[in-house]
């Protein structure tokens, strides 16, 4: 399946990634192979979902979830220690000028 360059650029924006011109061309070929590989779910027999009834594809039994009550949390200074921080906040370059 051919994937348009514009479509890849759109996906990259959604994924917060960017590819240079040449890089995108190279990436496109491999990506098309991956999509073709995934099209394997359309296998004539095994991929026919018309007869699937009553299938529960959930992984979690929602009735088993605990009550949404506050639990002890991690110490703020420890959490901040892996990023650039100041005065108890993570810092990034000024957004509002």
């Amino acid at each position: 399946m051919a994937i348009e360059k514009q479509q890849l650029e759109h996906l990259a924006r959604l994924a917060n990634l960017e590819f240079g011109g040449e890089e995108l061309e190279k990436f496109k070929e491999g990506f098309e192979e991956m999509v073709a590989f995934c099209d394997g779910i359309n296998h004539a027999v095994a991929g026919d979902t018309s007869s699937i009834r009553g299938v529960d594809s959930r992984t979690i039994d929602f009735e088993d979830l605990r009550e949404d009550t506050a639990q002890p949390s991690l110490a703020a200074e420890k959490v901040l220690s892996n990023g650039q921080s100041s005065n108890g906040y993570f810092t990034v370059r000024r957004v509002v000028k």
């Binding site: 917060n16 779910i41 095994a46 299938v55 979690i60 892996n82 990023g83």
Partner: protein, 483 residues
Amino acid sequence: MSGKIARFSAMLARGEVTSRQLTERYIARIQKLNPVLNAYVCTTFEEALIQADYADGLIKSGMAMPLTGIPMALKDNICTEGLPTTCCSKMLQGYRPCYSATVWERLKAQGAVLLGKTNMDEFAMGSASETSFFGAPKNPADISRVTGGSSGGSAAAVAADLAVYALGSDTGGSVRQPASFCGVVGFKPTYGAVSRYGLIAYASSLDQIGPLASSAEDAAIVYDAIRGSDVRDQTSLPSAGGPTPLECDISSLTVGVPQEFLGEGVAEEVKQAIGAAVCAFERAGAKVKKVTLPAFEVALPVYYIISCAEASSNLGRYDGIRYGFRAEQFGDIRDMVIKTRSAGFGNEVKRRIMLGTYVLSSGYFDAYYKKACLLRGRIRQEFARVFGECDILLTPTSPTTAFRLGQKPASSTAAYLADICTVPASIAGLPAVSVPCGIGEGGLPIGLQMIADRSRDDLVLACAHFFEGVAEVKTPLCREVQL
């Protein structure tokens, strides 16, 4: 036949050796052999010796548990408070988590000794550990071969005796396939049997932590130490108390052999080794039955659609703000996130994020993600039908033995075929183990996979234990790693 952990524990209890001496022996082996194998990406020798002294204190005061004082390793995607945890990615270079994974807390509570963190595919995405930012680990049976992946460093460390046991994580076969390639035991428990808290997420509905060890008995001891419910992981399951029993009456079992797992692409030497393993069960009185799992045909694409979809969401958290790598040159804050992610992730990770974004995007969601979820349900139903007829399934772990390092696959998706035998159990959340069952051409190990019904982890381990006793496969180490 006693496993390595029980033997060392007995020696520690009798005072024939101390945990410090045992740890020093392992440190010396790592210092000598890790430059060859690249199994560890970070060593924690100073902390290990402190933990060993603490363990010796526990032993002296009569408070030893099964894993007290035993030197071990963790895959580099399992969080260890204050120690580097990088997922072998540039994105997490320098990251030191401020909390520990539940599995490591449980092992520490037993007095375990951590030697270091092991090599893996970047963010566990791969089947050869070659996508690691730190370079690929090498197979101790032949250092020109891959270890398998993604828990390749853990498998190599156990195979070369650079750790008594190690933990890995298995999303589509990442514990079992490297165990098969390196000639050790690799066990993926039932989904939820072991808490995933502190395991850096790849695909949350598939990820499961499991042990790599030199015997099924050792794998069971480690499993017993790490399993059980955890309030911090809502998918974790409660478990029965007491050790997993390893004895079972093989003659009362019906062994299923799924025909689809022995089709095209499976090497002749692998088919022969699996055939011999099936005969071993038959000789012990088990009834053998050929079974079919037609949905096997779609298992690989279903796996890649679901795992990449979940990965694209899970890896959205890497923005260069809270931890890890941050790009140096950028414009505004959005540009910082994009530049950070584009430079921090390797090619395979970017490919999977993009594929996951594609199958979840408007216009493609129903055709790919929704359909894959439906087919996941069918795969579960087929396993349920098969486990109505038999107790355990025997299959190859991998269609081939370990391939050459740097071998270029025929296409960008050809490498995914290495997972073809392991993904079905992952999709269905079933317990499965890989045990060495033969030695192929070039002295390369062959693995036998055993799959049981949900929560029958005990049966999987008991069958593995039985098979080890009758097969007695010894994986040779290559010349370069013999001391």
